[in-house]
């Protein structure tokens, strides 16, 4: 059955690695819905967090093919309930809307916060799941939403396997 999965991939820092990973999804006709990547706590090792709609069976095979790539350390498929995840959204609103007062209450009630205020606009930051973030747009719309921007998923796996330890061992091995 198709549902949303999180795929995490640990890689070396190499030009073209994103391309190599995404080609594998492309070949199997799987659409990537979000992709986040950044350096991990270990210099030179990157973590990709990819969300996709697919089946477990297909993704297990995809992960096998990803792990076959030379610069990939490990790749995993995670069920929704196996990960703690968040996304981050920024909302730009006209400063005029602050006059009415109740937008500040709305911001507080939704665990969002104001990042910056200028004469023309101010920027709100909110983290949460995709649905919460888009629901918040609707609430903000009456106040004049100018721009909206959302990150991909950032995720942490619940199971306690010490991937951090494994990565630290890698640190000892020079990247050849």
């Amino acid at each position: 059955m198709q549902k949303e999965y999180t795929v995490t991939v640990y890689t070396e820092d190499r030009i073209g690695i994103t391309n190599r990973i995404t080609i594998i999804f492309t070949r199997r006709g799987i659409n990537i819905t979000s992709l986040t990547t950044a350096e991990t706590e270990i210099p030179g090792v990157y973590k990709f967090i990819i969300t996709v709609m697919s089946t477990r069976e297909k993704l297990d095979k995809v992960v096998g093919q990803i792990e076959r790539l030379i610069e990939i350390h490990r790749a995993f498929v995670h069920e929704e309930e196996e990960v703690v995840y968040q996304e981050l959204a920024l909302y730009k609103i006209s400063t005029r809307s602050l006059d009415t007062g109740d937008i500040e209450r709305l911001i507080r009630e939704n665990q969002a916060r104001i990042l910056t205020i200028t004469a023309d606009y101010f920027v709100i930051e909110k983290t949460g799941h995709q649905q919460e973030l888009t629901d918040f747009i609707k609430k903000l719309e009456p106040y004049g939403l100018i721009e909206y921007s959302k990150s991909g998923r950032v995720a942490i796996v619940k199971w306690s396997r010490r991937f951090h330890e494994h990565l630290k061992e890698l640190q000892a091995v020079p990247e050849s």
């Binding site: 073209g16 096998g64 792990e67 030379i70 350390h73 050849s176």
Partner: protein
């Protein structure tokens, strides 16, 4: 033929120069790095963006032999043939742009068939990258899905490291092709050269650790089996596991069948060898896959040409899959016991734990099936008395006259299937063919490479009239480099395999498959290669003798039955048990 008045270096001089740790150009570093990897033969074609490397090569002609092919596709197939016959890594050179794009087919072919190959391409200067400069092509982007690894080098000091990594990756684990793209500035730039071979990459474990529990589990399944069946794939040859495999089969009396690429791992006349699997394989192994209770698949990946309809494949069997590439395990067929390991290591471990057994009744089922195929198909194919010449009888004669000891390089089509079915392979790594890609035009250049890789062996290319016309320009290379390959064209004036499908599945609507052919012998003559055309049964034996006796390249054209079909056959996507004998 020397154009320059500067002569290339003599071996001693080159040796002296190689010993030092000097400041040299990136181009020379390429050549020295290749020499350090033990490369003695390069197949290639020069051009603007790789000229510095060719210039550096000029000095080392006594150390490395450059074979000037006639098309870069030919360079890749030759490198593949070289690698597959010799077990070493094949090397090809090409220039940027069109030179590099011409490598694509061979790279994809080598990727599908796990052939170790290192291709080096020249590239425009780093400052021009990404500007659509003259002959600039994004060869890294193009070849990403068809190489095991690729890299673009833009700084001369990175050249030795990139080449060391390229060879390590190409030949380790599940082998494959690697491409190193080197910009022109890096070829010209000088630096202090030092070569350190690559022995490890932290994100890459080429040889998995054998799991002893899995071995015990697999042995338990085999020891229980009433009808065990061994499938021999290319991985057996790649890991040099032939002896261990045969020992295991003999100890537990397990019948063995081979995939197309596994051919030659087991001598055809071995009493436990029961034939080839797959769409045009033998009747017994295909039908009895459905009957076995234990399937031990070694170094093979359950290609759809082998499994037919996956749902009905080996339904009664517990599957033991021995495979070095984790991504292949459970990809097509779910394994009950997976041995993620090098084939040789795994088979040797299994041999310890497997009990001696005999499966006479089960083996007799194979013999009966073989008899059925022999009576219905093989006998009249191999020993026809009247009518036009048949491909099978030509292969039988070549097999007899070479004692099954030649390196057989086949192209793609009916002749490939017939040669694979009837050549009686005796020694490992003597079957070279394009399996996963099925690339027409493969065999003439691959045969050239095979002969360079194993000059002591007789190399015979079996080629269809269609395939020959895809890469026949390599006759020029064969002549210029004096490569003594024997070329047999089985001419049916058709793209025979496609015509067979049209006959069987498209109502005999022969859309664009008839070929009006040139005079092949005359063409060979144009390349100074002697040859002969045979149309009559009584002439074929002597003609093969003459070809084999000839010292040097020779082309034999045999006109065979126009509308012959290859049977048995499993229609695409059908259950393999539905294999048709006629």
């Amino acid at each position: 033929m020397q154009q320059k008045d500067v002569l290339p270096m003599k071996a001693e001089e080159a040796d002296k120069r190689l010993a030092a740790k000097p400041v040299i150009s990136g181009a020379e570093a390429v050549i020295r790095s290749l020499i350090a990897e033990g490369v003695d033969t390069i197949f290639g074609y020069p051009g603007g963006a790789i000229m510095p490397i060719y210039d550096a090569l000029y000095d080392f002609q006594d150390k490395v032999h450059h074979i000037l092919v006639r098309h870069e596709q030919g360079a890749t197939h030759a490198a593949q043939g070289y690698a597959r016959s010799s077990g070493r890594t094949g090397v090809a050179f090409a220039t940027s742009g069109p030179g590099a794009t011409n490598l694509v087919t061979g790279l994809a072919d080598a990727y599908m068939d796990s052939t170790p190959m290192v291709c080096i391409t020249g590239q425009v200067g780093a400052a021009l990258l990404g500007t659509d400069a003259f002959q600039e092509t994004d060869v890294i982007g193009i070849t990403m899905p068809i190489t095991k690894w690729n890299i673009q080098v833009t700084r001369q000091e990175d050249i030795p490291g990139a080449i060391a990594k390229a060879f390590y990756i190409a030949r380790s684990g599940r082998p494959g092709p690697v491409l190193v793209d080197i910009t022109k500035n890096a070829q010209f730039g000088e630096f202090e050269y030092e070569y350190i071979p690559c022995t490890a990459i932290r994100s890459y474990q080429p040889v998995p650790q054998l799991n002893q529990d899995a071995v015990t589990a697999a042995a338990a399944v085999i020891n229980e089996a009433k009808k065990p069946f061994l499938l021999v794939g290319h991985g057996v040859l790649l890991s040099g596991a032939e002896k261990a495999l045969i020992a295991l089969a003999e100890k537990a009396q397990i019948p063995m069948a081979s995939t197309l690429l596994g051919l030659s791992a087991v001598p055809v006349d071995h009493p436990l060898y029961v034939g080839m699997l797959g769409m045009h394989g033998n009747y017994g192994p295909n039908v009895l896959t459905g009957e076995c209770d234990t399937l031990i698949a070694v170094g093979m990946r359950f290609d759809d040409r082998v499994t037919g309809d996956v749902e009905s494949y080996a339904n009664k069997a517990k599957v033991i899959h021995i495979e070095i590439d984790a991504a292949e395990i459970n990809k097509i067929i779910k394994a009950d016991v997976a041995l993620h390991a090098d084939a040789k290591t795994a088979l040797e471990a299994l041999l310890e734990e497997v009990n001696p057994a005999s499966h006479e009744e089960w083996l007799a089922e194979f013999q009966a099936a073989h008899q059925k195929e022999y009576d219905k198909v093989q006998h009249r194919e191999l020993y026809p008395e009247a009518g036009e010449l048949k491909m099978a009888e030509v292969i039988r004669l070549i097999s007899e006259k070479t004692k099954g000891e030649a390196v057989l390089v086949t192209d793609v089509g009916q002749h490939q299937m017939v040669a694979s079915r009837y050549y009686r392979f005796k020694n490992p790594n003597t079957n070279i063919t394009s399996g996963g890609m099925g690339t027409m035009g493969f065999s003439l250049p691959a045969a050239m490479g095979a002969k360079m890789g194993t000059p002591e062996k007789e190399v015979v290319a079996i080629i269809g009239d269609g395939c020959f016309q895809m890469t026949l320009q390599e006759l020029g290379t064969i002549y210029q480099s004096k490569i003594g390959v024997k070329i047999v064209i089985l001419n049916n004036n058709f793209l025979g395999m496609v015509r067979q499908w049209q006959q069987l599945f498209f109502d005999k609507r022969y859309s664009s498959t008839e070929m009006v052919n040139p005079d092949f012998v005359q063409i060979a003559k144009g390349f100074y290669i002697p040859g002969k055309k045979i149309t009559a049964r009584e002439d074929i034996s002597a003609a093969i003798d003459e070809m084999l006796a000839h010292n040097g390249a020779y082309l034999l054209e045999v006109v065979v039955e126009k509308e012959d079909n290859v049977f048995p056959m499993v229609p695409a996507g059908a259950p393999i048990a539905n294999i048709r004998l006629e």
